[in-house]
Amino acid sequence: MANYLVQRLIQTILILFGIAAITFLLLYLVPADPAVQIAGRSATAQTVANIRRELGLDQPLATQFLRYLGGLIHGDLGRSYAQKTEVMTLIAARIPATITLMVAGIAAELAIGVTLGVIAAVRRNTLLDRIVMIASFTTISAPQFLVALLLLYVFAATLGWFPMSGFGSPAHVVLPALTLGILGAGWYARIVRSTMIDVLNQDYVRTAKAKGVAPLRVVLRHALPNALLPVVAMIGIDIGQFMAGLVVVEAVFGWPGIGQLAWQAIQQVDIPIIMGVTLVSALAIVIGNLLADLIAPFIDPRIRLR
């Protein structure tokens, strides 16, 4: 186990290094010049050159990258070009909102997705199954913007049950989480349905039924835990995706998450922020997957970590 962790840790560092290198390179291949962006329209050539020099953008790419890595080792993500604030401060200010939405969103996905998946599996090849599968397909394909606005319009603007936008109280999180739940539940429903069908066809389930265990208990106690393994892996992926920011949902609900920060930084070619957000979300994806891998043996004892 310890061995496994060390191995994964080394992997994580290598992955982060690779991501940092690739992102850095891509950002510098973009023709847009951050110094010109900051200097704006009225700046003289001298001003642009000064800004470029102060930001170290006149240095060769390798030097810039090494300097960035040097900072990174000390936990320094640098300062935003446009805002001058430390990137760490800007990201840290948004982490609580991002994590709140992540937890609530995944909870909503699971609640809706697993329930529908189980129902579809138990009632497979019936009309109900088909309705659930068509619905899950529809929500997977539905545009985030539309679903978010629809919920907002009905439950906040018209009915007034929830606040229109913002962050702070539990009421604020309901609609954004529900949006994510509706959009993401389809994946979970489909996965749960197919693994549940497999599990329900297995001998031990038949044995349980034969022993006269109540049908609901068979499904929930005997079959479901064994069908959840791929779901846990999916949660791991979701954690990463959610940490990378949910630009559209955040935008509609005025949610102060990391996606907004990244989106604005991209518009302004604010390289330190883009790098910072990329690294934080990459770290989250790696950790999310690691957690999923660590949890797997507890759900399925046949899995061993090596």
């Binding site: 003289t44 001003t47 000064n50 001058k84 604030t85 909102a97 907002l152 005025g254 102060p256 518009q267």
Partner: protein, 538 residues
Amino acid sequence: MKNWLRSTVFATMVALTPLAASAQQPQKGGTMTVTFKDDVSTLDPAVGYDWQNWSMIKSLFSRLVDYKPGTAELVPSLAESFEVAPDGLTYTFKLRPNAKFTNGRTITAADVKYSIERAVDPKTQGPGAGFFGAIKGHEDMQAGKASELPGVVAVDDRTVRFELSRPDATFLHVMAINFASVVPKEEVEKAAGDFGKKPVGSGTFKLADWTIGQRLVFERNPDYFDKGLPYLDKFVIEVGQEPLVALLRLQRGEVDVAGDGIPPAKFLELKNDPAYKDQIIQGDQLNTGYVTLNTRIKPLDDVRVRQALNMAVNKERIVRIINNRAVPANQILPPLMPGYDKEYKGYAYDVAKAKALLAEAGLKDGFSTVLYATNTDPQPRIAQAIQQDLSAIGVKAEIKSLAQANVIAAGGTEGEAPMIWSGGMAWIADFPDPSNFYGPILGCAGATQGGWNWAWYCNKDIDARATAADAMSDPAKAGERAKVWGQIFTDIMKNDAPWIPVFNEQRVVVRSKRMGGDASIYIDPTRVLNYDALWIKQ
């Protein structure tokens, strides 16, 4: 349609008459809520340079001179008086005795010197350093050879003198620009590189709270030297708000001003709804949207071709595409700018004449070219309209629709972009003076790598005339100088036609029913929303 347009323009002009003409008197008190989609990037006056933080910085800080709310008229502000030497090379300002920073300290001449030097210092990474180019010692400081400006002298606590190396008729405007805001040195140092998030000034408001990504709370500065201002007790900026959602919230009374205006999809619905008649404000700003014609790329290097392209674009139709949120333009300067040439009619829409000119230039069968545009609505649609117009005279323009930063990069690279539609980055003046529409975007100095003169237009003769016009620094000759500038711009269009001026875009603001004040303080020519002068009906 024509009539509707005329009446709108007329209504706007009426609305833009000075404050005194409004029927209601401003009332004091109350808290206003304003929303924006983008987070506020910085409130450091030496760094901030976008239309959103521009007006907030204006209200957080004060400058030696400023504009009367809702107008482009310069008045003393932090200075109670000033004198200009007859040769135009020395400006002496007398500070008010009662002006204090919000940390309680009295403002002195040394603060003014520090603040201007900070804006010029390369270490500040400020975009506005170039505005102070006329001050003695500017070049040395920008080149990193000096750490102060000998041209700014703190004569005594209340007197500051500026010595210039050349006459600069725009100098008082420069003293009113945000970059010239006075900041307290001790607070800048205390903020340790983050003054933009912890600003301390001497304006009408002070920043009481900033929750990053959520809201900024501005409170009235009780010690502001003009006791009449501001009217509001407080205003809250809520960021991260999608314009459509902001509009819904405004309709429910949760928001007072939707800072990003009305989303295009909702515009006609609201505009045609009589219930919103008093809540929608549409007004002119110092802005021109244009297509640059790269004078260094064939065949656009031929003036006849550029003139032909000018005649080929149907501007009225483009204005209709954006729901009449603009007025067709026939020249470089916007109508509100001093120097606007009312006599000049530009190149009228005339396909036959355009074709004839192209034939004369040896391009009877037209040619192929590339038109760059930013990729956010409605800019690609406008580019397509221009593309269609050009195809009518045989010019095949391929549209390259890119992120704004990439369009800017292409424009600033020699020989790269034949044509650029400026929408989404169109020139909005830094201050209400015609010279601001020349130097960076049409002067030889701007035709450089990373510059903004995307037409790569450089006419030495015009450059010399521009320099001469800016040397006319006697305030008494302001009218004459505006005429000189007007003639410069008219000659540029008549003889060289480096641009297709397309329209002067208007700004649209929606406000709640309880908000008072007339259009000119919601679309203030020098700062858009004028937080100093906005007020709530009690």
